[in-house]
Symmetry: none
């Protein structure tokens, strides 16, 4: 697998050595002391130690921009859900304990490098508690009265595709798509594809 550039922003020599050790097949750079984030090639993988001095001085705007351009993992020596939320909301791709087990950290890097987000168990269940509860029952029910084919059509329609696009995607006629959608509207008690979309996405 080709590795992206990997950098660490920290004041802590021990921590830096740690990351360099567990990412031995990466090219690891040390940030700070002149070497700035905006000098890095785009799509870099960056670990940021929250204990770094003057971190708070960096304005939010810079963070958002950097998070767009790179994959930033926040490593905190005292992880806390609220702090993690704030970082992830800012666009960070990961939030973990800076002194987690090496195997875990390596996993974090692998996952993040592959384009996914990494969120620890504690924070994760926190997220689920917040949003999942209210929506879950309703969420699995919208498709309940539908047949398998109707579900497929409904899903695609709810993404904003036209009847013709759905037809081509499923290899059937536009007319057949209309048939299925009419059945879907009837069964779900909606009038058109927009209301269908709102229902599918759990908004109404």
């Amino acid at each position: 697998m080709s590795r992206p550039a990997f950098s660490v922003l920290t004041d802590d020599e021990t921590l830096f050595a740690r990351f360099r050790g567990l990412a031995s097949d990466w090219a690891v750079y040390r940030l700070g002391n002149g070497k700035a984030i905006d000098e890095l090639p785009p799509h870099s993988l960056i670990v940021v130690d929250t204990a770094t001095r003057d971190l708070a001085a960096i304005p939010e705007k810079i963070w958002r921009a950097s998070c767009q351009q790179h994959r930033i993992v926040i490593a905190s020596s005292q992880p806390e859900d609220e702090e993690g939320l704030a970082w992830l909301d800012l666009g960070a791709t990961g939030y973990c304990h800076a002194y987690a087990a090496e195997a875990t950290l390596r996993q974090v890097l692998e996952v993040v490098a592959s384009g996914e987000l990494w969120v620890g168990r504690s924070l994760m269940s926190r997220l689920l508690k917040g949003i999942g509860a209210r929506r879950s029952t309703h969420a699995r029910n919208w498709a309940a009265p539908l047949t398998e084919r109707e579900r497929e059509v409904a899903r695609i329609a709810a993404e904003g595709d036209s009847n013709l696009e759905i037809a081509q995607a499923l290899g059937i006629t536009e007319r057949t798509v209309k048939s299925h959608l009419t059945a879907v509207f009837e069964k779900l008690g909606v009038n058109d594809r927009l209301q269908l979309a709102l229902k599918v996405h759990g908004i109404h």
Copy 2:
């Protein structure tokens, strides 16, 4: 690393072979056809294919119990955020695309086996949006290039109302509503009110 027992519940031979292939150093079992979940040793790692027949027949209570006892990864051939939320809320430890790249699936298994939760990017950002909605930039950014009146019209249209309903709600003509919407579509780069709704509600 010691591997937990690993089982797959699916009707699909191809899918089973796939999982067995990518977990060659695990002992992989095939569920269904008599072999039931409750016969497995505790703390097993189980992948459940949502396309499995009669899956909907299994009551919610059984799922919750199984999720407590084991680590259950839901593999959907048509992943959908709402469905994923429902499963995770039920206690599943992972939700992924059944036909994702092998490297990804292997990663999923590694992460889950190590005790963490695995949630895909799309679902993850959805979760974050739910929590950080009030502070989310995206949530208020869609309206940035619009005038005040256009914002109003767009908001109502995104709720599923017709042009006539919008007109009556705002005390203007249907024609005027169309004017505003045309401007909105142009500014936001969408083709119709459905795509507008998806953008407004932060789905696309």
